[in-house]
Symmetry: D2
Subunit: 352 residues, 4 copies
């Protein structure tokens, strides 16, 4: 195990940070060697600084690490970032400049013109932007990002449709879990017997990230896909797992639910080809029961790394509609960054 | 009070039946004189036959009534029906034949060609179908119905748009409360930490009822409105109050959110003109906060008889989108039937 | 209405502060004339400073008030305090010194030897401590407090037992609503599909407040009742309404559940004698169904001002056990302070 | 794998039945060879007859089994029973008569004078009653039972106290998960924003089962332990995991929380000695955080087979109090029966 690559987790005491620590505990390629958090945690053991909110016990190795400061030099070549948006910008840039590969779950850099926003099954070719990024910015390391937790699962299901039939428009209504807002996050008075029909900036992110993710990287620049996205985002009393009701207008007329199911089932991407350790066997899992997917029953499908799809049926307005569900802190956050890191490793782009 | 018209409540021990009893307790025109339920309740006092699930105590007058059988002759000229679908058809028809005005919340007769499906603010002119119904069927009484709990609130908000701008298409995703399924209804294992993305027949009802409700009654027949409806219906862990994310394609291009808000705010219908006792002052109440409406905060607006609207904004696909919320067992069920009865009374159509 | 006594609400934008504003909106004796909150609200209209979390709209009169600073001089003779513990001490003392009657819901001063901790049905005679308090402290006004939200409902049910049979020991396990922790308060990640078996300082408060409340005021000093209290406090996913499982060892052996029910039903206190406007008709309401009281069904009994009791039965260890339920932000907080103020008015102790 | 002992699961489509199927899927000694359920499932594949309610997919082997009738002869020597109480009595007796080892989770036979009620860590010596049972009843097989889901976790924590210090009295208030009532079970209208302070027969079971479990088997008869138990049982909005607030009067005075913690931590029983495959390493796991155990965080400790204890502290009335949590459908039901079967196998008492 001593040859595993040491990694740092930034924002390690928070919700997504804890998920990084959990998912990396038995990772075959990486091991958590450094944990970084805000001032009030610095200098404490991770065990004492963290109110662990995941089931099962905190991994022993991480528990004994001493929490480092945002400003500290890091020894690990790789930094997974779950930093709050307010501080992420500067810290992530500094680390990239100093030679670290920064795999970030934060939204700050996602839409920048030389920062890849990656889902390895969808746009693995976007890693090419790293070269331009280093050159532009004079960095020896780099920043690569993964999408918002709602966008990533939707785009995983849109990708095979886009490739097979073309895609013009996507209407989506989300019913999102509270873990997406971190801890303490959403007050219980907002969630017991209630729905909150608004999540700040979420609808915008779903639109712009979808266009970047399904677009190309050509001539040294990202070219957005020409797809209109209309999102309505809601918070519901669910711990983990975002449910999304999606309607799509495809590039071809007359595509049937059976054809859609068929491309969903056949979908594979780079992580499956390469056999990346965190890759799900099937990035899209289809459920045939008429009342699935459901968060409590389906969110842990493929260890939380797949999108689960059901109720594929005609939409009398846009053509096809379906329901999707995905784990928002595994494939929707920490697991996404880790899968990105695995891709970079195989591509020989990690500074190790 | 002795001049109040005696009414019967069919299916009185169930969820919607209890709501009828509660809403009628202090009604100025009607009083509950008979309660009818299934075999296992017959012969008991209503107090003993009913597991009362509403807050506040059971109204004293109703509590002492002895529950009658489905097959009994009724003395009351008016029967409010909250019967289960399996038995409603025959019982409601017999009562109408025998001269009763049957105001039904059940779906059985809603789509029949001589049965009005009524929202008094929307299609009060459909009461004209009663005459044809009596003639066709040789009945001295009649059946009139109110819509499904999801459809009624949506159509209340669509009506002013339809009148002001025309309306081609409606895409809606619902997040529906569990009281819509009655008691015992939805198991708690399906609702704690969960969403169920399917409600049997609900999506079909929302489409067909909308077209009948916004259509005309011409030359002795209902003429459906030419509107495409695509619904995705979900059950969420909320007691009362259906939340719906709606996108509409209007008949005119370029309608702004401000224009939409303006017609929402100006909307009044027959119940407001006539001052019907159960009518809300405003059938549509607009909230301007970006995170409203919410079930716990807004479902009791106008005593549960209004639809509450918020987040009116452009939809890049269909033109306009918004969120609506309505109380599903008040305006969405018992309150709707009672408002219908009030309209019939003022129109002189009750058999009293 | 112009003769209603103007009152100030301290901490007016918070959970309990909002409840004060709501309960005082149509009060026959008092009207909200001043609202006071922390720095970030000062200078704004109450409407704009407050994220209103109660159903129904914010009362219009209060909505237009401009929020004042903690340090401002107040014109109102009465101040209702829902201040956070950290700041309450100094502010409440200053106002009392300056001549205001401070009716406080905060725990800071509750256990002081010259400050009455009052439940008018239980220990109305403790108002006598006001005279000593003024003298000791050289104040023209005074501070009077109401108990913790869990203690008040339990003590309301213990009082008639104590008087009728004597009382040695009380074992209680609470299942408390989240509104007791204010807003944002308890994170939803702690409450969806969960119970938290700990509430800071709550168990201690239930013990010490019970002894003061059931004790006497003799010779210018409070004398604690000699009762052992053992509390286990839990937070459960309920919005409003604390449920408590109570076992008691009475001063007499062989007291039957019927005798207990009989004293519960007969219980009346000073507020009922005096006909205070916020007084419940019955401070203890007994439910006979075997599965009651329940929060959603019973918390609004007597407008939230009563304790609801059920399942009175033998306890093989202590003698008698029962379940009680009470609204924690009405009788458990704001309503308690208001009832105290009403008592002081009738006693001629208000500075007006 | 072909040498694994074939077992039947009775009541296989229900909540506990599914848990049996799941826990046995990779069991080293047993394999599910037969599934038995009520009439409406008979003749269908298990996959089609069952609405699978556990996370992760249904085990493939079981999925393909054809559901058998309650009355069918069974080929498996062992039958795990999750039958509904109404039918369990007769079916279990018939199977025992015919030579099967019936390991039952149903309450029907638990308190009978020749039927062992077993927790292998607590009263493994009660297996001796099997011999008497066979003789009395002329059976070639036998019935052995496991306790109620609330009793089993409490008694696991009481056993080391009883052995170390003696035990006179136990006061317990439970906050029980809905999965304990099966599916559909508790209606969501009873659980959203609510607590139900009553569970039929639960309080009685906790008392009588505790006395049998901690009692002896001497001279061919069970001798109850002389312990008074007072239980108050509540249903709370939690999926899995019963939380219990316990106070105990020990046989010795002055026992400290530290001494209690010490015996909790040291506790081991027969399953640990024998290394039974389903045995937890530690039957009691102690958490030291002041707000633990919590259902979402702790119910899966030791794969759901341990009781988790926290907040051990003095009780001013009975001496010691603490909070415990246990998974109610794993160690509280199916897992308990399986552990019993493992004990019987090692003891050589299985008919194989």
């Amino acid at each position: 195990m001593s040859e595993r690559i040491p990694v740092a987790v930034l924002g390690a005491t928070g919700s997504v940070g804890q998920r990084f620590v959990q998912l990396l505990a038995n990772h075959p390629w990486f091991r958590v060697a450094e944990v970084v958090a805000s001032e009030r945690s610095v200098g404490k053991r991770y065990r004492d600084a963290t109110e662990w909110r995941l089931d099962a016990f905190m991994p022993e190795d991480a528990a004994n690490l001493v929490v480092q400061d945002y400003g500290d030099d890091l020894a690990s070549p790789i930094a997974f970032s779950a930093l709050p948006g307010e501080v992420a910008g500067e810290i992530e840039q500094r680390l990239a400049r100093e030679g670290h590969a920064v795999l970030s779950n934060t939204s700050t850099h996602r839409m920048e013109p030389d920062v890849p926003l990656l889902i390895p099954e969808v746009n693995a070719d976007h890693v090419a932007a790293i070269e331009a990024q280093r050159k532009n910015r004079g960095w020896s390391g780099f920043i690569a990002t993964n999408p918002n937790c709602s966008a990533i699962h939707m785009v995983l299901t849109l990708k095979p449709l886009y490739d097979a039939f073309g895609l013009d428009a996507v209407m989506v209504t989300t019913m999102q879990a509270v873990s997406g807002a971190g801890y303490p996050g959403v007050p219980s008075l907002d969630m017991i017997d209630n729905v909150v029909p608004y999540i700040g900036k979420e609808e915008e992110k779903m639109a712009e990230e979808t266009r970047k993710l399904l677009g190309g990287y050509q001539g040294g620049a990202f070219v957005d896909a020409d797809i209109v996205v209309s999102a309505s985002c809601n918070r519901v009393p669910v711990r983990d797992g975002h449910t999304e009701a999606v309607s799509v207008r495809l590039g071809q007329n007359g595509v049937t639910p059976e054809e859609v199911l068929s491309v969903f089932r056949a979908f594979k991407g780079k992580p499956q080809e390469l056999g990346l350790p965190s890759a799900p066997v099937s990035p899209i899992v289809v459920r045939c029961e008429q009342n699935r997917p459901q968060p409590v029953l389906d969110r842990d499908t493929e260890r939380g790394m797949a999108s689960v799809v059901g109720r594929v049926r005609p939409c009398p307005i846009l053509g096809i509609k379906y329901v999707l569900l995905g784990h928002n802190t595994v494939r929707g956050a920490a697991g996404a960054s880790i899968l990105n890191a695995e891709l970079f490793k195989v591509e020989g782009l990690l500074p190790v």
